[in-house]
Amino acid sequence: MSDTATESRVEKAAELPDDARAALRSLILALADSKRVLGLRYSDRMLGAPTLEAGIAASSMAQDEWGHARLTYALLGDFGDDPKALEHERPAAEYRTHPALDAGFGSWADFIACILLVDTSLVTQYGALVESRYTPAHNRVQKMLDEERFHFQYAAGWVRRMAAVPEVRGELAASLARYLPQALQWLGDDEGPAIRRLVDEGLVSAGPSDLRARFLSRVVPVLADAGLADELGLARRDGGEWSIAQPLSFDGWSEETRRSGGSLDEETAARARGDKNRALLMD
């Protein structure tokens, strides 16, 4: 963040220009919705994990994600939203979840690949809020990132383990190949006007390409260590930063939803909203 931006911290969203405020709200809502559904998907792996310890850790990570979602929804109170309504009263079509989370996990490999790639893409975007001059975001994000270190270690350990087991290595590689482009694309389009406003206003510390480079610098060493980087089309550009061979397309991609159409299904949204226990919701 520039010195100028540091000098002008923003305590209230209302202090922001309309377009920058709308862009920041969209980003925060996309993060909150993705965290909510990520936790839900993790919770599906609390049982049936390969080891008891792995299942308990999955349960704990699900709780982490729900906690992060709640903290993130709460930020939106400052933008004129009712966080409880956002959490419990929206139809599926209004969720702005990471598209990689539309489908549940079909296997343990999906779960591990999702933690390494999708969770890390969210963490990378949150990381750009640590240095935001919007103080409420800046204040809340660091604790989340501290907890996320364990999610990354969990994924890295399981990628190493699975890559060494011939029976599941191919399945893991397929899951990683499916999530990788989605994770990279979710970080955004450099040409997007809303993202440019967020960077220019010092509300995020880096734009999409920089975030993709940060993301790859975190995940590729794990994949390379497991001997999976080549088959995922990852290579060092001129011996420097990692890049993916497959070009990203932003045709039809919406900056507001961070998706290229489609939406969460109603059944998953009902679970995310907590419909079954609606009568027991507390104020």
């Binding site: 994990a49 310890e53 364990f150 270690q153 890295a156 399981w158 190493r160 087991v165």
Partner: protein
Amino acid sequence: MIEPVYEVFARKTRGEPLRHIGFVNAVDGDLAKVYAWKMYDEQNWGEMCVIPRDAIIPVNPEESQFVTMMGRDAEQALVHSKGTGSYGGAEMAGGAK
């Protein structure tokens, strides 16, 4: 594949003695750290360490809880036998999914 045992030690504040609080099975030290942090989270620990059980050298083995009279291999075989289960390792071993 048998996962080694890692003993878990922790303390809440600086200066407090490091206490043995339990153990985890994990394929390597990195996963052992995650499992320990996530499993033994009932207290707000300031410091936590995991130590491979193999690395502990008991001064008086007959009194040590880190070795059994069976010996390590026999203990591992018992812990990982089907009856006592390591929570369905078949999925990872390429068995039933």
